[in-house]
Symmetry: C2
Subunit: 210 residues, 2 copies
Amino acid sequence: MSESSLSSRKKRRSPRNLGAGDKRERILDAAVRVFAQSGFHATRVSDVAKAAGVADGTIYLYFESKDELLRSLFEDRVGRLLAFVQEGLAKHETAKAKLSAIIELQLGVYEGEPELAEVMTVILRQSTKLLKEHARPGFMAYLDAIATIVAAGQKNGEFRSDASPHFVARSLFGAIDGIALTWALGKAERGGLSRAATQVAELFLHGLLP
Amino acid sequence: MSESSLSSRKKRRSPRNLGAGDKRERILDAAVRVFAQSGFHATRVSDVAKAAGVADGTIYLYFESKDELLRSLFEDRVGRLLAFVQEGLAKHETAKAKLSAIIELQLGVYEGEPELAEVMTVILRQSTKLLKEHARPGFMAYLDAIATIVAAGQKNGEFRSDASPHFVARSLFGAIDGIALTWALGKAERGGLSRAATQVAELFLHGLLP
């Protein structure tokens, strides 16, 4: 922890150059836990530092502020989710199979990480600024990916053509988000997400039949 | 504004006894606007007082804290939405018509009040405590109302019987919430909610066909 000192708070160095990427990762992992436990506004940067096992100043080597920590967390996790989904999609041929895969993949990621589900469905909305200014590009990229699949399915006759791909995408994202939200808040039965994935997939695929 | 003074902050009187229900209403209406504009955490009680045209102390005659203000706002608006939905549902016979009506009613309320849509979809989640402890009963009552309609439609053969009414309810609520969220944040086209309502209704009703 030799690089950690509050004096480095203003002079940020690039963490990549320090060869300490795993420390950045450790901070992000700790942030998921702490944000999920205390909420964004009640969390202090020092709480995250403690949970990550680093000095307070270390966090400022990687993230300028608590806002930037949450933003980086979102970008990192959405980036991973997008990559994971793209990889998963490549294995499927039909639009139906691709759509089912997206639902399973998104709920599957949450199933393994309930705290991440809470951060993504609840905590993220605790920063209106973040949501409006920063979350939009990643969110839109994700919606576009879904809309593209729906449009392809309409073109090849798998889906009915009178549904707007973008409305379907937003409805589907909302449905998944709503299910993950109730589940993450511990009100829905634990372990129920894969069953939920099957039900949501059936409902939407059925709804899109010509 | 004779009852308004900071000294009344601790000694709360029942506003109903003061016969000043319209002032409470004015404060709630102002809170919707201010919360939507600044977010929950950045809002000070004095900002709401200013927007409502009352002295700071007046707010404390009606609401103990900013948390209670948000909670009361949620309870009041969900109560109204539930009453509005129940009234609307009574006009329809079939489960299909009732489900379409719920979607139209919920999105219709938001269409008339974009700031309310933002408070309900975003700001409400800015208080994790509120969401976990207080929002649950109203939210669950709303989901139960939807699930009951789905179950009735399954019983009379309108809907396929292999879908879980509660999953359908959560998916549908999530879909509506997701559409209202993107719309309220000003990214979706204005005036598009009634078109969205038709699309969501078609998607879900189609999805529930036997």
